[in-house]
Amino acid sequence: MSFERPQDPSSALEQATQDVSNLKSESRFLLEEIRASDLEFYESKKRFLNKDTQIHKFIKQHGSLVDNPKEAEFQERIKEDLERCHQLQVDKCTVANSLLYMVTKHLKKVQANIEALEEDGLLAPLEDDAVELANELSRESSVLSSGTSLERRKRTVAAGTLSAGSSLRKRVKKERGRSTQRDGMLSEPPSDEASSHGANFADDLQDFNDELFSLNQQEEDDKQLYCFCQSVSYGEMVACDGPNCKYEWFHYGCVNLDEPPKGQWYCPECRQEMANLKLKKKKRV
């Protein structure tokens, strides 16, 4: 990927804010475009349903044995309208996809900037609370009632986008405050948090596009969602030993693991839970 390497976190943040400043009007414009197509779609639908009713009416009045002189013409017109409707729907999908593309482009750029800054030691790697934020968000989204499995997958995509995006935003914001203190300090090598988030997002996006263009595609066997990121199972997974763990299984990348952990392993959430319990006990004693 070729892009300008950011000089420091605050200029990167400024640049990113400037980049997305058009997003507001762009998204509004595109969605209004979809709406205009949709309105036209309903006009066409009304028109061909009207023609259809006229054909029905004729049959009711004259019986089905009398030839309707207009029927052929009506059929032709109905067919035209139906084809127009189909074209409108395809156009709507294209417009929606270009909006998705725009958002992805911005997100990718911010991610690339963050990675570059982390590599240069200008930015401290992501800390736990940002991960927890992302995880909180994905839980928020998964609380909503579930529909069919297909929809559930779509929703996961949305949740993934949301959490990836917001954790990034949060990260940028945090780093800005800290950059003054950390100036000149050498930071640890970049964690794979950023890359794993990026990979998740890319995967989700891929899923989404696959779905868009081949709705009839067979779904994977394992549709169960795991981990903070609430995605399907892929690659190496690790199980949490916490008895009340909400997620149970985690992707290696999401919890910073490269190899199987030794002994008991608890996810950040359960670790937090256990720490809280300990604290309470101490207080009581």
């Binding site: 779609f41 934020l133 929703r155």
Partner: protein, 98 residues
């Protein structure tokens, strides 16, 4: 005659299937629309991310202190739901009843 009858039965079966398919699609469509509405409400009414700005209100305030009114939004901010013509018609219907 026999052949025509067979053709008629086949067409009837096809129509039945198509109508069933239509019903299923419509249900799914309803669900998706509701889902968009819910997600939109969640996004606009302020979860952890929206206080830094949303795609509807822009990100001008990003990096500054979060404004207090970020939790308020109007119906016209529902740009996602509003992209559906039927949603607009439903809203008009609701307003007429009131």
């Amino acid at each position: 005659m026999e052949k025509q009858r067979k053709e008629y039965e086949e067409l009837k079966q096809k129509l039945k299937q198509a109508l069933h398919e239509k019903k299923v699609q419509e249900q799914e469509w309803d669900q998706i629309q509701q889902e968009i509405f819910d997600k939109e409400t969640e996004y606009l009414s302020g979860n952890a991310s929206s206080k830094y700005g949303t795609i509807v209100k822009g990100f001008d305030g990003f990096g500054k202190h979060a404004s207090q009114d970020s939790h308020h939004f109007q119906d016209q901010d529902r740009i996602f739901s509003l992209s559906s013509a039927l949603f607009v018609k439903q809203q008009e219907g609701v307003q007429d009843e009131e």
